[in-house]
């Protein structure tokens, strides 16, 4: 599972980033933490996208992950980074598995919209429940690592990077399995897949569940690196929009793409907000449209052009 160029690159890049992070200023470390946290969710959406499915509601699972951390923290005082991460991923994964029974029967726009609808229900419930923090959300205490509470953000940054790395490797491997190869196959022709004796519904259900686990983990990591959750920034439909935005921005070409895409997104947003506090949405929206029109393959397609097609295939 480490024997292809993508895997090798991931390993080396992770090393460089972890080392570099030790010398980089805090805000860069933050950008990487936010970026890589989100990238986890993008990985999952990428798997779905390759199958021809786009979910416009994965903020539901992202939010579940984030709020799992928040609830654990505020109600039970759980602060261990791994417990929090697992909790987020599991909660989202279970929800995703159950909802998957509905979702696997839908395609195209209906799939996208049903996800939106379900995410809105969660948004509504959270916003309107005082015990869930209502619109204020929760502040999240600093995460501990095996009982130790680190002075700086660096350890968390390393952990997030390594989790991102392992997720990327796992997905990279998954895409090589029969299941994984079926992604494009299903997008191309479900009838044939069925007549080959393979259940499209099961395949999609699995991919959906995977994507929700990743989204939940992403939410958990994001909550920990931000130290704050609120429905507006974690569950609202605009967040789902952002996730898809970054997916398109990254491009489906390779598991590396989500990480690059997410970083670009964070930096872009930071500067848009800094340069045009009253028009940063406009900048984001325009970028989005430009990508959709002129760079359908996302950033990755650029990289492939630069780095020569055969790279990391």
């Amino acid at each position: 599972m480490f024997n292809d160029r993508t895997a090798k690159f991931l390993l080396l890049a992770a090393l460089v980033i972890c080392v570099g992070g030790a010398f980089a200023p805090n805000w860069i470390v933050n950008q990487f933490m936010f970026g890589f946290s989100r990238a986890l969710a993008i990985l999952g959406l990428m798997v779905l996208w390759r199958t021809g499915l786009v979910s416009f509601g994965h903020a539901f699972y992202f939010g579940l992950g984030a709020y799992a951390v928040a609830i654990l923290d505020s109600k039970l005082g759980v602060s261990d980074v791994f417990l929090r991460l697992v909790a987020g991923a599991v909660v989202a994964g279970v929800a995703g598995f159950l909802i998957g029974f509905i979702m696997r029967n839908y395609r195209d726009i209906f799939f996208a919209m049903l996800n939106t609808a379900i995410s809105m229900v969660l948004f509504g419930i959270v916003v309107k429940t005082e015990s869930l923090g209502s619109t204020d959300g929760f502040a999240i205490s600093a995460s501990t690592i095996f009982g130790l509470s680190p002075e700086t953000k660096y350890p968390l940054f390393v952990i997030i990077t390594l989790i991102g790395l392992s997720a990327a490797l796992a997905v990279n491997f998954y895409l090589k399995t029969t299941f994984g190869k079926l992604t494009t196959a299903i997008r191309d022709n479900e009838i044939r897949v069925e007549y080959l004796g393979f259940s499209v519904a099961h395949a999609i259900h699995l991919k959906y569940t995977i994507s929700t686990i990743l989204a939940g983990g992403a939410g958990a990591l994001m909550a920990m690196s931000l130290g704050q959750v609120d429905p507006e920034s974690m569950i609202n439909w605009t967040v789902s929009g952002e996730l898809v935005f970054v997916t398109i921005l990254s491009g489906p070409g390779n598991v590396i793409a989500p990480f690059i895409g997410s970083l670009v997104f964070e930096v872009l947003r930071t500067y848009a907000f800094e340069l045009a506090p009253q028009a940063w949405q406009l900048i984001m929206g325009a970028t989005f449209l430009t990508i959709i029109f002129f760079l359908p393959g996302g950033i990755w397609s650029l990289i492939e052009k630069l780095g020569g097609k055969k790279n990391a295939k």
């Binding site: 726009i109 996208a112 049903l114 939106t116 609808a117 379900i118 009253q278 028009a279 959709i292």
Partner: protein, 298 residues
């Protein structure tokens, strides 16, 4: 009894508002299979345009009755201009691409339009109370009601009947239905689908604008008022069935009346109603109550 009447009126009033804003969304979806996230922006632009000119006119000392003209004009102008530009400038070039990409494009548009409003109209809220003041208020069910608010019910009725008539009593309607059922079929029948699309989108945009323009006099027209609307109208469309006018009407009624009951009898659950209804429908009938027949993929 008085309470019942009040609840009914409140419910109808809110339902009407919901219906007007969601009708456009569901029509566009039904015909073009586009979930138009930018619909909220049409609403906002309608509200701003109306509020802006109502204010200007009354400053010029023109009769406030003109307000109603402005409202209609604003809706049409906004719908035609924005609708045309967006459909011709962006969406038209995407119909061959994945439907979902189009949704995303409208999301991008939504972000852009939100900030353009800010640049065009500034951050200061606009007040266009004149039409509301003009119609004054009446004693009804033991409380005072503003007549303007109740005319909303009439407007909704007109929109509903109008849509029904257009779909079921005109040649246009039959063409639309053909396209709605199956785009390819429409083309093979020699229907000018691109034109149908353009007009449909403009029509939907006008309805979105009308919602905003008509509500404008009752609210403080401030930035960000589009975002709420998307959520509400989307909920209605999901409950009623994506793409179904009847569905939108029923959906609006269910949500509107239930909400009114909640506000009066059990305020603490008021905020859940919309989403509770949505959740229940999603569990038992994910395609909505009145989902139009859709050709399955397999």
């Amino acid at each position: 009894m008085e309470a019942a009447l009040t609840i009914l009126l409140d419910g109808l009033q809110f339902s009407s508002y919901l219906f007007i804003v969601s009708a456009g969304l569901t029509i566009i979806f039904g015909v073009m299979k586009i979930l138009n996230v930018a619909h909220g922006s049409f609403y906002a632009w309608g509200a701003y345009t109306a509020a802006f000119f109502i204010g200007k006119f009354s400053d010029m000392g023109l009769p406030d009755a003109l307000g109603f003209l402005i409202i209609v004009a604003a809706a049409i102008v906004v719908g035609v201009i924005l609708g045309f530009i967006i459909e011709q400038g962006i969406l038209k070039h995407m119909y061959e691409r994945d439907e979902v990409l189009i949704v995303l494009a409208t999301f991008g548009l939504f972000l852009v339009l939100e900030d353009i409003i800010l640049i065009a109209f500034g951050t200061d809220p606009y007040f266009a109370y004149q039409p509301m003041a003009l119609l004054d208020s009446v004693e009804l069910g033991g409380i005072t009601r503003d007549v303007y608010g109740m005319t909303l019910i009439g407007v909704a009725a007109v929109v509903a009947v109008g849509c029904w008539w257009l779909l079921n009593r005109t040649k246009w309607g039959t063409l639309l239905k053909a396209v709605i059922f199956d785009r390819e079929m429409g083309i093979s029948m020699g229907i000018n689908v691109p034109l149908v699309y353009t007009l449909t989108f403009i029509g939907g945009a006008i309805l979105g604008g009308l919602g905003g323009a008509y509500i404008a006099p009752t609210i403080s027209v401030a930035p960000g008022l589009g975002t709420e609307v998307i959520v509400l109208s989307f909920a209605v469309v999901v409950v009623g069935g994506m793409g179904s006018i009847v569905g939108a009407a029923i959906g609006s009624l269910i949500i509107g009346i239930l909400r009114a009951i909640a506000v009066h009898e059990l305020p603490q659950v008021e905020l859940f109603v919309v989403f509770a209804v949505m959740a229940i429908v999603l569990v038992f009938r994910p395609e909505g109550l009145f989902a139009p027949a859709k050709p399955r993929k397999i």
